[in-house]
Symmetry: D2
Subunit: 243 residues, 4 copies
């Protein structure tokens, strides 16, 4: 079983009625239930959130996480720097990392990208249509050419992320923008996936395509092995030098 931890800052669901209604136990719990329903015996899923000790990301938890999902929005700054650095270190040594929606500005994601990660945005509950622009990546498997999200927050260019290793989806927004909304990156020995949908007041995590993509991304990001050490030692040559 793949060991998944879903981290959520878990704030909007407690303070805003419309969000609580959509995601009564937190959007991390909604994603967990949907994944367990879709693939009953494939994942061992743990939830973690900001207010837990060490944000729920103790060494024990991180050491036993194959893939970490992250959702943060208005409380990025409350995440402890040391814990963000520890997450980055685990990714470098192999842990998969999936940054959801407004986590584009979360501490671990920004550190992993090395870019500002800023973007255009608009909260207008507008229609969005996600277009698949890659037909061979495992994360796109089984998904249709396009699908609609009935309401989402707009994210658009200039979206200052690095050029993706693979750009998988581009989103069309009713208001006139496009977004590179599903992107993969190699970071050390770890795989990183950014996935745009998931504004707290929108029902995207109830959308079966969104859940299928998250499932595919977990399967892809799973390292399938223990953490890989980073080696910096001087090396003996394979061939004779100075012939």
């Amino acid at each position: 079983m793949i060991r998944v931890t879903i981290w959520n800052e878990f704030r909007h669901e407690k303070t805003e009625e419309n969000v609580k209604k959509l995601y009564p136990n937190g959007l991390h719990a909604t994603i967990k239930e949907a994944l367990e329903k879709l693939a009953p015996n494939e994942y061992e899923i743990r939830l973690a959130s900001l207010e837990m000790p060490e944000h729920g990301l103790t060494d024990e938890v991180l050491n036993n996480t194959d893939v970490l999902l992250w959702w943060g929005h208005c409380r990025h700054n409350d995440v402890d720097d040391a814990i963000a650095a520890k997450v980055v270190d685990h990714v470098h040594r192999g842990m998969g990392f999936i940054a959801l929606h407004s986590s584009h500005l979360s501490k671990p994601f920004v550190k992993l990208m090395g870019t500002p990660c800023t973007l255009r945005w608009r909260c207008a509950d507008e229609k969005a249509r996600m277009w698949k622009v890659n037909r061979i990546h495992p994360i796109t498997k089984g998904l249709p050419d396009s699908f609609e999200l009935e309401a989402e927050e707009m994210y658009g260019e200039p979206f200052l992320i690095p050029t993706p290793d693979d750009l998988l989806w581009v989103t069309w927004y009713e208001g006139g923008e496009i977004c590179r909304s599903a992107c993969t990156y190699e970071r050390g020995f770890g795989k990183v996936f950014y996935f745009q949908p998931g504004h707290e007041s929108c029902p995207s995590y109830h959308n079966p395509y969104v859940i299928q993509i998250i499932k595919n991304a977990i399967d892809w990001a799973n390292p399938g092995c223990e953490r890989t050490p980073l080696c910096c030692d001087s090396q003996e040559p394979f061939a004779k030098i100075g012939k």
Copy 2:
């Protein structure tokens, strides 16, 4: 004229006789002279180094730098965090950045990459041959299919950098390794180039091909405009929402 600043930690040239002999005024001075000789009126070049106040990278200097070259090795940790962060911010807003040789582990480069940037290495003054693997990038213009460096430090895989936007050269080492030795990256509005040659005890910065590549890289990395602000405001739609 393109305003270039060449930063050097400038240590080995003062403490090791063989290095001093190769680069009497510092390798940054050698690069400056070579560029000025190759292209007399194209660059306004300033030198900066670790021991200068603010490492020679005051706001005034950074604000007037189009492209920053960086060489560091044994004193990465002595670079002030705030100055490294300022360099990264300038790159994000458009300043070109060229990381030379062991600067793969410098603070600004590591922050810009988001990866460990560790690698295999060996100091054996071995032969190296650089092979061009891209024929259309402006940095490769005018360079032959391959050229030899009579002696270099070996850098090799696993080289934990992000997948380059463009991989331009791969180096063959006598001892049996290869290195992705010339790589480009988009970072915000700025262009970043990593270039492997340049161990302090090797004469690579006296090699005309190396200098030609550095010149091409400066021309490529030059933003050709003032810093671009990072925008994070909410945006009005272009098309009507909710038809």
Copy 3:
């Protein structure tokens, strides 16, 4: 001066009144005039079209062309196979090639891509907005974050081109699709650019941004040297084998 040849099948402009009105002497002539006005002494531009002997692409013309622009639509099949093969060969040896709009299905472009190059499409004179998704490529220089085309043919995914070396623009269409509308490719020693705007009944080639992009693309695709021979000979080793 960069020697540019603009090839046009030149049919719609003769048979359809609305097209003739937009592009009285052919859209190739319109592009020529716009480029000469934008950059008076930079280009030596020749026009060529289907009905000319050898389609206007004699050896003499091709040998003296640095960058070839191509516009074809309803008469792809009337292009002689041998001439299409010759164009491909010139690209392989260094000639720049810019495929405009419906030339995604032209013989030279399809041969250069190796993919079906099919796509979704719709002729509805709908609004299109082009979004820049790369901020460092020379073709994007000086262009705004986005600009509108008042009416264009929709091209959309699945657009079966190869993954671009660089994806420069993505177009938003009023009707709900997106298009990877500006893509670069290395093909042998030659550079290839695909650029989506330019349906014959739409005024896109009168749009200054479109012309600026075509200008930037010509400058980028210009090889700056004579054709490069393709070498297939056995090679002597640089280092001793069998130590």
Copy 4:
């Protein structure tokens, strides 16, 4: 079970003693046996070769092939154009295609790439060391940082292939060259993998790492579904045009 067809021009094994000794029933048979031994019940493997009717690639065979492996060298020109075109069409609609060694100049591969695919080369039975330059692609899974091939033909730059979607291995050769030796490409709905090792007089297909990579590549290239039709019809809009 994944349905694999291994195609071999099957000439050297009949005419040269040293090749016959290494691959008594043809190198395609050696690969088949090695795969069946490594993964007993995963593949249904069929052999095909040049001298068979329709080169063994009838519609029935191609329609029932998930992944086609191809080895050709001195008889590329004897492959029927129509059959090569049929192979390309199957790849476009989803069939996986793995081009082995000198198949870089085979008709199907060259058509799929759109480039000359020429390269430097030397037959000197020299040592080669393959270096992994990507740590997250499924084809690299379980392979060490590097491994040695005791004798191979050298292939080197300029290797006029398109920029790979993913560059997985680079080979170091004793004689001083490097090769981009393991490359992936999206081509329509199909996945293409080029893999350099496998000169007919070298024992590379007896190397367990080589076989593991071929196995990983088959698993990766398997479309997991029937052929996908190429659609070219005009499309209804999703959103209202002309508001």
